[in-house]
Symmetry: D2
Subunit: 115 residues, 4 copies
């Protein structure tokens, strides 16, 4: 069984054991995801941009970052389950689309600009 | 190779082929993640809460939701790679912690309150 | 002096008194804003969509919501100051643009679709 | 009339003229706010942290940043109206609370750590 199938099953069982399916409509799950992304942002907000990665290799930040990344992932997996989306398959397809859209020869060393 | 290892490798190769490692410090990647979560939120914001899941089973919403969930996942996987965090392992540990914290007998049918 | 000028001045003085200008680059302030939006989302995430507004008229949610909305506003005002943007003026201009774009006769009762 | 009262009235009239009150429950408005914060994040995500403020003084970024800050503010004002919260008053109270909590003599040059 893949990592994603395993996490999906575990989150589904966790939810059912607490009768929490009633709370897991898509909009509520996206708000929960936003809450966890917010906690992740708070961990890094005041760190110097160029030393943040190094600082995060050491505790206590390392453990806290792992927890917040995990919370984001768990709600993402749960949302994909509710929406009946095969997330790893969709992600591989999306990345293939980005590979075609951002040709290395045109975007080498240049970040794409959002407008 | 697991789903996560595969996605991590693909995102790493995608980034290197474009010389984009220079942009992928943690704070920038979190902002990119926020951008994708925002696009996901926009897909659902005005839908009725109780029919959103059903509406998302049909196109065009189904395809768009899969794309945005994928973008969130891809930046999350990339951020975990930069931070040298084993994301599926961390997520299993976090879920085990939540299972112990939110005992089914105390939280059955009751959403935990954030304060 | 307008509300915004007053808040801008207060946030500027608050920041200077703590020598925190060094932390207030735009990316860091956006991450701080994201953190506060996340806390706001957590307050509402599991509430029923159709009774959330009524529930938020009573404490403890009323006080907590006012605090989180305030935190979002304070970082927004601070970010506008750092970017030298006249926020109330810009907001009036943006709303005028939306009034022209979403003609009442075309969008009556219909939420605009993001694609 | 204050800036906030003016914006609140304009957003209320804008909403009524389109019969959009039906979409403006708190959870939906928070998702809309998240969408706009996401667009703001996308404008800055790949800019160097230490030159972002300077780059944002010039167009096209200046105009785009003003638009996104405005969108965030407009949804924030609308949400405060729906929740019957006096936002400028609440923000002044919250800032007073932060002034007491983060004494300049203890936090001079030191960012508060979130845990």
């Amino acid at each position: 069984m893949s990592d994603f199938d395993d996490l999906t099953e575990r989150m589904r069982a966790f939810t059912r054991a607490r009768d929490w399916e009633q709370f897991h409509d898509p909009k509520s799950l996206i708000l929960a995801l936003v809450g966890e992304v917010g906690e992740l942002a708070e961990l890094f907000q005041w760190l110097p941009a160029d030393s943040a990665a190094t600082l995060a290799l050491e505790d206590p930040l390392r453990t806290r970052a792992a927890e917040e990344l995990s919370d984001v992932l768990l709600y993402l997996v749960r949302l994909a389950d509710v929406l009946e989306i095969d997330l790893p398959q969709a992600a591989v397809a999306k990345l293939a689309s980005s590979e075609a859209r951002f040709r290395p020869e045109h975007f080498h060393g240049t970040a794409p600009v959002k407008d």
